[in-house]
Symmetry: C2
Subunit: 280 residues, 2 copies
């Protein structure tokens, strides 16, 4: 009775059905319908869920990628900066990066490599994820997360392209502090520099900032810049030889008067780790 | 003339204005309006930009945090799993984690600590960012990014709370492979385990998975589990003593017959790094 009182419109149905069934039969019939509905709600499968799910219904933090791209040029470590053409922070220098393009990018690495290729014309030979920073302070548009990468590239391979792109420059790492950078990009660069310093103690990853062929003094110098100290030539050479990560091209170049052998990195160089850190 | 031809509706205005000015005057007047508009568009400041900016206008990838929380219990390394109560992947076990709550969370670390506290009742004494994974495959809802953390906690401090929370369990790390986990959580756990293995070679971070007070054999055992090899007792003790990271509580506990000293970690233990890796 109570169910029928709650649904007065059903009394019409009762009259209709009463030709075939008693009121008691009808109550049972209604109960079955109610049970079948609640059962359906409970057992909503993933397909039903997805059919009614719309990502736009939920406010999600902004997500971007950024890259701290290093190179070695004119005996200095330099980092790529891009002048922002759009709001927010329009006109300031910042890191190359941007939003995921869901049609073009299958993964975050696609996004960051696409953005770097736009600016340099090439894919860097070394890239690794540095960290993600997400908070409600770093971007005036609102809660924002950036996934930041460290990458290394030879100056020469992207020189021609960079010359054709407006508002891109290699900034010597020691001069970055004087730039007014967008967002928290100063902190991201500092973190990337620190990570690269650590790497230079136990790997020859910094070699990826050199031209394709380079001399041992050049490799040692990029390590020294990163570590901030001079390394003993003998101990550096011994370490590099033990690691067996270089290919001798057989060619030589005059380096301060004496001919120095030219090397290139073996492919496995990115993953190699010295058993002990470089010492001074 | 051409401007007026392009905008036929203006001829009405010309008729209206012609009482007061010549057609030439009117052309100048229009030119001023056009210039003032384009000027305004060019000089739109950040405030104007933000006033017209709405995050919901842009489709952004989903962003979540996840945590691989380890503990040491019953002489095993265990990882916290949570049974998913909602679609997608409803009913599967997965990592504790979830969405940023923009009202509650100031940064990503707030999100992950809030999620861990919901499940364990406490804030873990050690947490670090592991990596971010973002692609169009990992979540059926669409392009999705997770920022994943590794954390360590003593079993005892959250035992009581975990007992009161449904669908949470400590799964021995060696049995995780047999679980059908949601999303890419198998891969995230494998990455966290590998990172913790590396850390156990050059730090005493694994000690954060132990109870507040512990014996040296316990600390050594959690290192051995992670590294997958036995460590020489003598060399392990020497390394720990050199690092000076433990506080002797002055108390002892019977360990296989002999009384073993009880230690606690110094606060600086999380950041300490052995100069050389542990050797075997």
């Amino acid at each position: 009775m109570t169910i029928i009182e709650l649904c007065p419109i059903d009394t019409m149905l009762v009259n209709l059905f009463s030709v075939f069934m008693t009121k008691f039969d009808f109550l049972l019939f209604k109960l079955k319908i109610v049970l079948s509905f609640s059962n359906k709600a409970y057992a909503m499968n993933e397909q039903d869920f997805l059919a009614s799910y719309n990502r736009r219904d939920f406010l999600s933090p902004l997500i971007t990628v950024d890259a701290v791209l290093f190179t070695y040029h004119e005996e200095q470590l330099k980092v790529l900066l891009v002048k922002r053409g759009e709001h927010p922070e329009k006109g300031k220098w910042g890191l190359p990066g941007g939003f995921v393009d869901e049609l073009q990018d299958k993964c975050l690495e696609d996004t960051v490599l696409r953005k770097l290729k736009e600016k340099t014309g090439v894919i860097p030979p070394y890239i690794e994820q540095l960290c993600s920073v997400g908070n409600n302070q770093r971007d005036v548009r609102g809660w924002s997360v950036t996934v930041c990468y460290t990458a290394l590239i030879a100056h020469q391979v992207c020189e021609a392209h960079i010359d054709t792109v407006d508002s891109v420059m290699w900034c010597p790492i020691d001069e970055v502090a004087q730039q007014c950078l967008a967002f928290d990009h100063h902190e991201l660069i500092a973190q990337a520099r620190e990570r690269l310093k650590q790497k230079s103690l136990y790997s020859i990853v910094p070699g990826f900032a050199l031209p394709e062929v380079f001399t041992l003094p050049e490799l040692q110098h990029v390590h020294e810049i990163l570590i901030g100290k001079e390394i003993q030539k003998k101990s550096f050479r011994r370490r590099i030889e033990q690691a067996d990560l270089l290919i001798d091209t057989g060619e030589k170049r005059a380096e301060r008067g004496r001919p120095a052998s030219l090397y290139r990195l073996k492919e496995a160089s990115a993953d190699y780790r010295f058993i002990r850190n470089l010492e001074f």
